[in-house]
């Protein structure tokens, strides 16, 4: 009896220590975000008040309006949405089709090609980017949204193909065979039999794809020049030369950019966690 009580209290203190440590970590990771939102609402000239005033004396919502009028936010938003939606469609269609091929259809060299595909994940971005820039320039695609969208229709990121292939492998092969006997083509099996069943995996790919393209900075930086083609992430460049003057507006802009990502994250949390966990499997 005494012994078990002792064990219980030991267990409780252990749990308390774990929670205290976790709370410290949450504060450490969360503080910058709170700082961002708090600064975005501070009236001009009070951003540097010291010690930090976490709750502004007055909520200066006008910072958001000012950030909107300082840079063409709506144009950036439109461009970003075009890129996000078109790449989403392209990556969902092409990566699931290719994954279906790698998972279900037998052809010589399949294992080799699959390995080759995975190995391209290791390639540094700039090794391919320099020749691609020259290629896109020859197409007269630089400073258009084409180079940021069209490539999505050619397989998409290798990780997506990997993830969807793993998912297709878990579906019974009888499904395909039954459809074959009914005279369905391979293409038909992919579209009408497997895709409807792959919704969970497709959702994972969808959220990862949307967030990646919403957040992308380097691609647009290299490929877009004129302001009317900028994305939201790239638009941050326009604030750069203001530097220290209007930090509240810069933080308002950063907050605006972050909110949709966090909303998507909260709505599809499970898919996110599953997708990220799957990356660990890719290494095995």
């Amino acid at each position: 009896m005494i012994r078990s009580q002792h064990m219980l209290s030991k267990h409780l203190t252990y749990k308390t220590v774990v929670y205290v440590l976790l709370i410290i970590i949450v504060i450490a990771t969360g503080l910058p975000l709170i700082y961002m939102v708090s600064t975005s609402l501070k009236p001009d000239g009070t951003e540097y008040d010291f010690p930090i005033r976490w709750i502004p004396e007055r909520f200066a919502w006008e910072n958001y309006e000012k950030a909107f009028s300082a840079v063409p936010v709506l144009t950036f938003f439109k461009n970003t949405i075009i890129i996000v939606v078109v790449t989403l469609i392209g990556e969902l269609l092409s990566s699931s089709l290719v994954a279906y091929g790698f998972a279900r259809i037998r052809f010589p060299g399949r294992t080799f090609l699959f390995g080759l595909m995975l190995s391209t994940m290791m390639m540094p971005f700039f090794v391919t980017m320099i020749p691609l820039f020259i290629l896109f320039r020859a197409f007269r695609w630089v400073d258009t949204l084409y180079p940021l969208t069209i490539p999505a229709f050619f397989g998409g990121p290798p990780f997506f193909i990997f993830l969807l292939r793993q998912f297709f492998l878990t579906l019974p092969k009888d499904l395909d065979d039954a459809a074959r006997i009914d005279g369905a083509s391979y293409f038909r099996i992919w579209w009408s039999v497997l895709l409807p069943l792959a919704k969970p995996a497709l959702s994972t790919v969808a959220v990862l794809s949307m967030v990646a393209h919403w957040n992308d900075f380097t691609g647009p930086l290299i490929l877009l020049n004129s302001e009317e083609n900028f994305t939201l992430a790239l638009g941050i460049r326009l604030f750069q030369h203001w530097h220290r003057t209007y930090f509240n507006q810069m933080m308002a802009y950063a907050t605006m950019m972050t909110i949709p990502v966090l909303a998507v994250f909260f709505l599809f949390q499970k898919h996110f966690v599953k997708g990220i966990s799957m990356t660990g499997l890719a290494g095995r």
């Binding site: 749990k15 990771t29 010690p51 092409s94 320099i130 193909i161 957040n215 660990g280 290494g283």
Partner: protein, 311 residues
């Protein structure tokens, strides 16, 4: 169906037809993965070959490319910013990757308790890592402001005087490293998934054998998740060697090139000065370095990574 018939009646001419079925399937297979094959040739393989050829040329995009053989190599050896940026990248990597992974692993272990609260903590800790990198960069630019930013405020809690952070040659790299440790969400989730895959029976057996917390950690947990540690190390290293967005937005490589990272040097050459040939050579050096380091990690991993089911 077809296979069954083939087995039962091997000699009634099904064989030829079966072969052509196989060929048909193969053709269908190639057609179905065709988007990737085209994409691979145009967006990966072609460019890699092109950039290999480009490194023997001088090409500033306005005029035609000139074949200059090994001149870019001589330039590389004489370029003082190459060793400088490599040194900065190495220092950044050596500190940021292990510290980031250690923080991620410790957090994942704390979270590896089955409770509703731990789900909430996981979400809260993971959340900041989904922020757009560009937004993160301006946020941390403000945090490290040389007067009254959050970083100096935290120092103030411990009675340390204000620092110039991104404007200080000695503090700019530590500042970027601190920022990278903060970004622990993704490796944390991967570690957590691995920790949850360690079977409970092993722990139960260890407790029966009288093993304490530390013994369980070093003899069960760490060996079993070692493949995941290796994976995160490799991914972390590849990513850290290509650190760009933060540096580009926050410091532009300064002050005095103290935060000029190697990829930033490539970017400056390729897209600020349009030296396509020289930049291709720089990119290839990075490629080879990354491959070498990854190879070394896998080689060394044989000593410490445990794979279930033998070798």
């Amino acid at each position: 169906m077809g296979k069954q018939l083939l087995k039962t009646f091997p000699k009634i001419g099904f064989r030829k037809k079966a072969l052509s079925m196989k060929q048909k399937e193969a053709i269908a297979g190639y057609l179905i993965i065709m988007p990737w094959i085209v994409g691979f040739l145009v967006f990966s393989f072609g460019p890699v070959i092109a950039s290999f050829v480009l490194m023997f040329t001088k090409w500033e995009l306005i005029t035609a490319p000139q074949w200059i053989q090994f001149d870019n190599f001589t330039r590389l050896i004489k370029d003082p910013l190459v060793p400088k940026s490599l040194y900065n990248t190495f220092i950044y990597t050596i500190f940021s990757v292990p510290l980031n992974l250690l923080a991620a692993l410790c957090t994942a272990m704390l979270l590896n308790v089955k409770s509703k609260a731990s789900n909430l903590f996981r979400t809260l800790i993971y959340l900041p890592s989904q922020m757009p990198a560009a937004a993160t960069a301006i946020l941390w630019f403000f945090i490290f402001s040389p007067t009254y930013g959050l970083a100096n405020s935290v120092l103030g809690w411990f009675g340390i005087e204000e620092q110039k952070w991104l404007w200080d040659i000695h503090l700019v790299k530590p500042a970027l490293i601190i920022m990278s440790i903060w970004n622990l969400g993704v490796p944390m989730i991967i570690f957590l998934a691995a920790l949850q895959g360690v079977p409970d029976q092993l722990y139960e057996a260890a407790i029966l054998d009288g093993a304490g917390k530390w013994k369980k950690l070093f003899f069960i947990t760490l060996p079993l998740i070692s493949p995941t540690i290796l994976f995160n190390l490799v991914i972390g290293l590849i990513g850290s060697f290509q650190v760009f967005t933060q540096v580009f937005i926050m410091t532009g490589g300064g002050p005095g090139n103290a935060s000029l990272m190697y990829v930033m040097h490539i970017y400056n050459n390729a897209f600020a000065n349009f030296r396509m040939g020289y930049a291709s050579l720089l990119a290839w050096v990075l490629f080879i370095l990354v491959m070498l380091l990854t190879y070394l990690q896998f080689k060394m991993s044989k000593a410490w990574v445990y794979y279930e089911g033998g070798n």
